[in-house]
């Protein structure tokens, strides 16, 4: 299909593999976006500092792993710590922002980004932190012929799916989920029911922080743990949430997969495709340039036709 | 008999599975005050939004002054002579009362791509605005910030803004909402003075206001019109009494 131009040898098999890679990346994006869409949708707060929570998760993972040598123990240790961090942020900063406009929220949480980026450098130093994939997770399995796939990436898919399932269950089946939904659509009513909405929000934010931290922990063995890593992820997460529809878990999942596949397949195909169309120096750079703009173009197109995203939440 | 000014036929709107407007037929004759009442969640606000053009209807037709307006935007409907007030007071709080009304006049005085001349010094806007304020009894409050006016005055200002668009018909969404008895009384008198000059579609909660002002009343329950008639007929309608008035009184 893509011809034999193939310096990149883009065969059908590779295309399928890239598709899988895209899905895996999508699931990873969902991990990052899940907590953010909860906070954004339910509390209607723009939280730019979500990326910082992701970064903190990665740093804690590095430290705990360094101390214990076990990723699972690190996970167990990380959850209460991130919950605490989330609760603290909510109590100190976020709480005062609920009644403010989005502009204030953007600026205040921008302040949080600056603060956390430097905080980690003060505590952990300027160098990137170590965390190497433990042996038992570093194997490969051959899903497609001649293309061994890292076990750890399958683990990420598993965790992402588990989080998705857990969230659906929580939102639809549990009392907390019911309160969250009710709180989103009618705050005074929930208050009137004698439920402490402030406490509820604090817990939701704490939960969001745990999810962000979990994403950071899962990413740490595959990515550099350093100051500022949250921002790139934050941008992706926002694109996901906006495309999916703010506050919709289902939307976040679908949009994550769309973005993951679009980004991954797009950036591997586009440069080849461009060369196929015009074989020149210009195409050599235009391909990658276009690929890096791809998700933003996709977002603009989707929002042009569906200004509330693919799955607009009914409330609001 | 003359043609109705507003004629609504088989109007429908639903949100997800919830039906908000259910095959509604409705009309307002020239000069008439036609009130719509109904319990909470009956779909009154949805109905107003559909008439005003804020919500797109699923099906059905809306004819105003002989024109089908179903496909028109809210500003277009305003220009055709349909003016509305809001349930939640929505005057421009940072503007003075005079500027609020002047803005309304401006909306109907050609396009506003005029970037240079100072709007608040523009006699063609200010003078008629002052006159309307005088008419509604807010003349001496003209230079007060709208946000600083008393609640009842803000509601009056809102109607003044609607009047400033030289409408054929007023769409009033609970003009006495949130008012005390005294303020309600003033508003009632105020609307009574306007009676005859304008056709009105009046959404109202306060039964005294409805029964003292309306020529006709339609009762809305779950998006359906269950009865239409004179206030007296409605008061004596058994179905209405059980569905609505019974609970309310």
């Amino acid at each position: 299909m893509l011809g034999t131009h193939g310096v990149l040898g883009m065969t059908l098999l590779l295309l399928i593999e890239q598709f899988l890679n895209g899905m895996q990346f999508g699931v990873f994006l969902f991990l990052i976006s899940a907590g953010l869409t909860l906070v954004l949708g339910i509390m209607n707060v723009v939280n730019l500092a979500h990326g910082s929570l992701y970064m903190l998760g990665a740093y804690f993972a590095s430290t705990f792993f360094g101390l214990t040598g076990s990723l699972i123990v690190s996970l167990v240790l990380m959850i209460p710590v991130m919950l605490l961090v989330g609760i603290l942020i909510e109590l100190v900063v976020l709480r005062t922002l609920y009644e403010r406009d989005h502009m204030d929220q953007v600026l205040a949480t921008f302040g949080l980004i600056l603060f956390f980026n430097e905080l980690v450098r003060i505590i952990w130093g300027v160098e990137a932190q170590p965390l190497t994939l433990p042996m038992w997770l570093s194997g490969n399995v051959e899903i497609l012929p001649d293309a061994p796939y890292p076990v750890y990436r399958l683990v990420i898919i598993g965790v992402g799916m588990a989080v998705a399932a857990g969230l659906f269950w929580m939102i639809t089946k549990t009392r907390m989920g019911m309160l969250i939904r009710a709180g989103a659509s009618n705050r005074p009513m929930v208050g009137a029911l004698g439920i402490n909405i402030r406490f509820l929000y604090t817990m939701v934010f704490g939960l969001g922080a745990v999810f962000a931290g979990l994403a950071g922990l899962m990413a740490a063995p595959l990515q550099s743990v350093e100051s500022g890593i949250g921002e790139d992820m934050l941008i992706f997460a926002f694109v996901v949430i906006v495309i999916g529809g703010i506050g919709s878990i289902r939307g976040a999942l679908v949009a994550s997969l769309i973005i993951g596949i679009f980004e991954t397949v797009g950036r591997s195909i586009l440069p080849v495709l461009m060369l196929e169309i015009v074989d020149s120096e210009a195409a050599q750079t235009a391909g990658p340039a276009l690929a890096s703009m791809l998700v933003y173009i996709l977002m603009a197109v989707i929002l042009f036709f569906k200004p509330q995203g693919l799955f607009p939440a009914r409330t609001g | 008999m003359s043609e109705p000014l507003l004629k609504v036929e088989q109007l429908c709107k639903s949100f997800g599975g919830v039906v908000a407007t259910d095959n509604l037929d409705f009309d307002v004759m020239p000069g008439e005050i036609h009130a719509v009442i109904g319990p909470n969640g009956a779909g009154k606000t949805t109905f107003v939004a559909q008439i005003a053009g804020m919500l797109k209807s699923d099906s059905g037709s809306i004819t105003f002054d002989g024109n089908d307006i179903a496909g028109k935007t809210a500003p277009e409907r305003s220009h055709m002579g349909l003016a509305r007030s809001f349930q939640i007071t929505s005057v421009f709080k940072n503007f003075t009362a005079l500027e609020n009304v002047a803005l309304s006049i401006q909306a109907h005085a050609g396009h506003s791509f005029k970037f240079w001349k100072r709007a608040s010094g523009d006699k063609t806007l200010i003078e008629p605005a002052q006159k309307i304020l005088d008419d509604v009894g807010l003349g001496d409050k003209a230079l007060n910030l709208a946000g600083n006016l008393a609640h009842g005055q803000q509601r009056q200002l809102e109607i003044a803004m609607a009047l400033a668009t030289s409408p054929k018909m007023l769409l009033l969404d609970e003009p006495t909402a949130g008012m005390g008895t005294e303020e309600s009384e003033i508003m009632r008198k105020f609307l009574n003075d306007l009676k005859g000059d304008y056709s009105m579609l009046l959404i109202e909660h306060d039964m005294d206001t409805v029964f003292s002002l309306a020529d006709r009343v339609t009762v809305l329950v779950y998006g359906r019109g269950i009865a239409t008639g004179t206030p007296k007929e409605i008061r004596n309608n058994a179905e209405v009494r059980s569905a609505y008035l019974g609970e309310d009184e």
Binding site: V7, L8, G9, M10, T11, L13, L14, E17, Q18, N21, G22, Q24, F25, F28, N117, E118, R121, V126, E127, A128, Q129, P130, L131, T132, L133, S138, G139, N140, A147, P148, Y149, P150, Y152, R153, P221, L222, Q223, S224, V225, E226, S227, G228, I229, D232, M233, T264, V265, R267, S268, P271, Q284, T285, P288, A289, A291, S292 | -
Partner: protein, 394 residues
């Protein structure tokens, strides 16, 4: 009333005379401005660079060419326009004689003209923008590091010498990334199995890894700076690609990042200008004192900062105390007669170093921890490829 007038007059006099009092003192010292980006994750280069610079100043007893030093350090925030503002302040307010530092090519491109116009010496402790090696070369600009494409050129030479028959090229889709590739290919001159220009800030490499695997190259040549390199190395290892494809990188592995790379980097190769294993007294003292002062191993950026300071020292010495004697300063600095940890280097016509490049490998030490070892010289006294465009008279 009278008193008040007197006080006012005295105060006015003090204000007027204040600059006059400080002026003569200033003339006896060398004023140096150090500008680099220090904030955020990218601040690491500035940190190492300045530490090297400080250590050199220590070694020189706090003096340049025997003169007292007035050092002003400013943060450019990694922004070209802030860099320009800082340069302006250095020149017009601090009235410095020398400016050193600068991490990024774009900051260098934004500030060099101001320095040249005002005849202020500018010594790049890192940024190796090719524009400076070519048409913009001038008597007031000196390169203490390298030109962007020289390290990849050395890599190209190395991989050719080692007989690697084909490579997959991985570089960033921005200017430096493209410079790296052209530098590499200038020397390597063999077929490539493929090339990817990735997006700045890319962190998920699985798609690239799949693509590389599909083309079955013998080796990868990668320009993967900072965190992107750490991420790539982790994912390259996790995907098991290290078993079939060798990895050669530039600007990716160094002492500043080795801890973060961990065991992932073991078995990879890179080139650099600094023979960190050299047994020379200068190099050993540099490393020992650096570790003593900062508690960590110096990186190549530290060497660059260190040498930038030594170059200023050299220039001041040449001026014999007359900092207005630009001819003497330039002539002295052109000799590059300094005790650099990297060993001897000389200057080309464009003030770009002619120096050795080395192959380094990451191996596992006795504890299984990663260790950088030098595997010999790749290029001896190599010149950059832009100097012919420089029309500077010596």
């Amino acid at each position: 009333m009278k008193n008040q007038v007197l006080i006012a007059a005295a105060a006015a006099a003090a204000i007027v005379t204040a600059p006059a009092i400080t002026a003569p003192v200033a003339a006896e010292s060398v004023k140096v401005g150090y500008m680099q980006g220090f904030a955020g994750g990218r601040g690491i280069f500035g940190r190492y660079g300045f530490e090297g610079f400080e250590l050199a100043l220590d070694h020189l007893g706090g003096k340049f060419g025997g003169m007292d030093v007035e050092l002003t350090k400013k943060d450019t925030q990694h922004k070209p326009d802030v860099g320009r503002s800082v340069m302006n302040e250095f020149i017009k307010k601090e009235r410095v004689n020398f400016v050193a530092g600068i991490t990024w090519s774009n900051v260098l491109a934004a500030v060099w003209k101001q320095a040249a116009r005002s005849k202020t010496y500018l010594i790049s402790a890192n940024a190796g923008w090719s524009g400076m090696a070519g048409k913009n070369c001038n008597p007031y600009y000196f390169q203490a590091s390298w030109n962007n494409d020289m390290i990849p050129e050395a890599m190209g030479k190395l991989m050719k010498k080692e007989g690697i028959k084909d490579v997959f090229e991985l570089s960033a889709n921005y200017q430096a990334g493209k410079d790296m590739l052209s530098g590499f290919n200038r020397q390597y001159q063999a077929p490539t199995k493929g090339k990817i220009l990735y997006k700045l800030g890319n962190n998920d490499w699985q798609a690239e890894i799949s693509q590389i695997r599909a083309t079955k190259p013998s080796a990868i040549f990668g320009f993967l700076p900072g965190g992107m390199g750490v991420s790539f190395m982790k994912q390259y290892k996790a995907a098991g690609l290290d078993k079939t494809v060798k990895l050669y990188t530039v600007y990716t592995v160094d002492y500043g990042t080795i801890r973060a790379h961990g065991t992932n980097a073991i078995g990879s190769y890179h080139t650099t200008f600094w023979n960190s294993d050299a047994k020379t007294a200068t190099n050993q003292k540099f490393i020992k004192d650096y570790i003593k002062k900062y508690g960590k191993h110096p990186s190549m950026f530290s060497v660059q900062g260190y040498d930038a300071a030594l170059l200023i020292d050299l220039g001041v010495k040449g001026s014999k105390g007359n900092l207005k004697d630009h001819k003497a300063i330039t002539t002295a600095m052109r000799t590059a007669d300094i005790k650099s940890p990297r060993g001897k280097f000389t200057y080309n016509v464009n003030h770009s170093p002619i120096q050795n490049y080395y192959k380094r490998e990451v191996i596992a030490d006795a504890d299984g921890k990663p260790k950088i070892v030098v595997r010999g010289m790749v290029a001896e006294m190599a010149k950059d490829s832009h100097y012919k465009k420089c029309k500077m008279a010596w």
